[in-house]
């Protein structure tokens, strides 16, 4: 994939999906889903140069 905007969009979609997983209510998986969400969020953050900083 070469289009950076596509990657941003995919990551945003993955973040939304990971946030849904976090609400699964399974205590064994809750921390792992939070970890997944955080890794995606970190990728969004480190790619955010030049973008508007969220509050």
């Amino acid at each position: 994939m070469s289009d950076g905007k596509d990657e941003d969009a995919l990551l945003a979609e993955m973040l939304a999906l990971a946030e849904r997983l976090e609400k699964s209510g399974d205590a064994l998986l809750a921390g792992q889903y939070a970890y997944l969400r955080a890794r995606v969020a970190a990728l969004i953050e480190l790619r955010s140069f030049g973008a508007e900083v969220s509050a």
Binding site: G25, D26, A27, L28, L29, A30, G31, Q32, A34, Y35
Partner: protein, 467 residues
């Protein structure tokens, strides 16, 4: 025992409940699917395992039943892996992925003296490494928001160096990795400052050392750490009398796991049940058979042992991508308890607290003796802080010497009580091993450096053969 129950992990996790409710038939069907995928992948990628499968007649890596798998797939042992690494360093030809997919390594500790196995791990393997530590700890009561003390040295190149950190993180707890560079006194100082600790992971021997040091400072663990809901040990056996004392001192359940580098973490644990069964007998390490295929076999014939018998653990991790261990002979000795005798769930078990090593066995005066027999006899005495044993030759006869040290918090024992203790230890050893041995008391200071993984025995008999 008297310790409070752990919050039901099956109620908190639908995934775990699924594992707990599956029938034996469904469990074995799941294992077969994973074995088939593993063999197909390794036949395509691994020269080492392709040769094994060809040797066993598993054409193209095809496996049609678990029975066929365990009968046809030849076992491997440490020496095979070391030889393979010599041929194709560093990972050998058993690697199941492209070299570029290896992002982490696990090495065995090298305490056997034979050499260190090197295992390549992929990104997925690293997550599974964490999960295979998190799983038993979750069952033992570790939860998001808890404070956990990891007394095993962190980092480095071992499975035990990385698994705990990954596990505590993916459970969502906060880990204080105090093992290695921090003295016991400094650990206690830190623990007292934290304002609440919920979980401790330590080797059996280190939990003993930590408890002894707390008591020597006049600190009651259960009063100092009232929020503690899990003590989790691994690596060494122990007598039940010791376990009962530990639970009494800490006011919570003691749990145990069986794990190894070959399993990429834990292969089973006492779950939430603790190290005692309801009738007060030794508890069970229930095996995580949806993640591993664990056989317990006669080390001479390779045939499965009968219920209640001692056998060698032969392990296959079903999910590792990088350096899988397929039908690996661990040399670990465990007593087999079939799932039908475990009181729920279709997972087989081994007896907890008694896992030993077949290669630790000492032939003394015609008796087969394991260090765990002596551990049980000596540590049944709460006054004993540590011991070490020596087998040697004197005037052509094999002799056994056991040196015991009184625990720091028992330093007020009178000379008479100390002599009674020595005689009681001697009698307990005779009862368990059928041998009379020499027992004497030495200062506790002789045991510095014993804290993490005790190597209590030395065999000096060959020295007696020198001319």
């Amino acid at each position: 025992m008297a310790s409070p129950p752990v919050a039901d992990p099956f109620a908190a996790s639908p995934l775990l409940r699924r594992f707990g409710e599956m029938t034996r038939e469904a469990l074995e069907a799941h294992q077969l699917r994973k074995v088939q995928a593993l063999c197909a992948r390794l036949h395509a990628k691994s020269d080492f395992y392709r040769a094994k499968m060809d040797e066993g007649g598993l054409k193209g890596g095809a496996v049609d039943s678990l029975d066929r798998f365990v009968k046809a797939f030849p076992t491997s042992a440490k020496a095979d892996f070391l030889a393979d690494q010599q041929v194709a360093p560093p990972f050998g030809t058993r690697l199941g992925v492209d070299r570029g997919d290896v992002v982490h390594i696990s090495m065995t500790s090298g305490t056997s003296g034979q050499g260190q196995e090197i295992y390549g791990r992929t990104q997925r393997d690293v997550h599974m490494l964490g999960y295979l530590h998190a799983l038993p700890w979750f069952m033992a009561g570790l939860r998001q928001g808890d404070t956990a003390i990891n007394c095993v040295p962190a980092g480095g190149m071992t499975t035990g160096g990385w698994g705990p950190g990954e596990a505590i993180r993916i459970v969502g707890a906060t880990g204080f990795h105090v093992g290695g560079n921090t003295s016991t006194e400094a650990k206690i100082d830190l623990m007292l400052k934290l304002g609440g600790i919920h979980f401790i992971y330590a080797s059996t021997n280190y939990l003993h050392t930590l408890t002894e040091a707390l008591l020597a400072r006049g600190i009651s663990p259960r009063e100092a750490f009232p929020g503690m809901h899990g003590l989790f040990i691994a690596a060494e056996g122990y007598p039940l009398e010791w376990a009962a004392k530990i639970e009494e001192h800490w006011g919570c359940r003691l749990q145990e796991g069986y794990g190894s580098t070959q399993l990429n973490g834990f292969g089973g644990s006492t779950g939430s049940a603790g190290v005692f069964r309801a009738n007060g007998e030794r508890g069970l390490i229930r095996l995580f058979e949806w993640e591993h295929l664990i056989e317990i076999v006669d080390p001479e014939t390779g045939a499965p042992v009968l219920p209640g018998e001692l056998g060698e653990m032969v392990v296959t991790n079903l999910s590792v991508e990088g350096s899988p261990a397929v039908r690996f002979r661990t040399g670990d000795a465990a007593r087999f308890v079939p799932w039908q005798e475990c009181g729920g769930a279709a997972w087989n078990a081994i007896e907890c607290g008694t896992i030993g090593r077949f290669d630790d066995m000492m032939k003394i005066r015609g008796n087969n003796i394991w260090p765990s027999m002596f551990d049980a006899a000596v540590f049944a005495h709460a006054e004993v802080g540590e011991y070490k044993g020596r087998v040697y030759t004197r005037d052509g006869k094999t002799e056994v010497e056991v040196k015991i040290a009184v625990a720091d918090h028992q330093s007020g024992l009178s000379a008479e009580a100390r002599e009674t203790l020595v005689q009681s230890v001697r009698a307990a050893i005779k009862e368990r091993s059928n041998m009379w041995v020499d027992v004497c008391e030495v200062p506790r200071a002789e045991f510095q450096g014993f804290a993490y993984k005790a190597r209590r025995w030395t065999d000096e008999r060959q020295d007696g053969y020198r001319l």
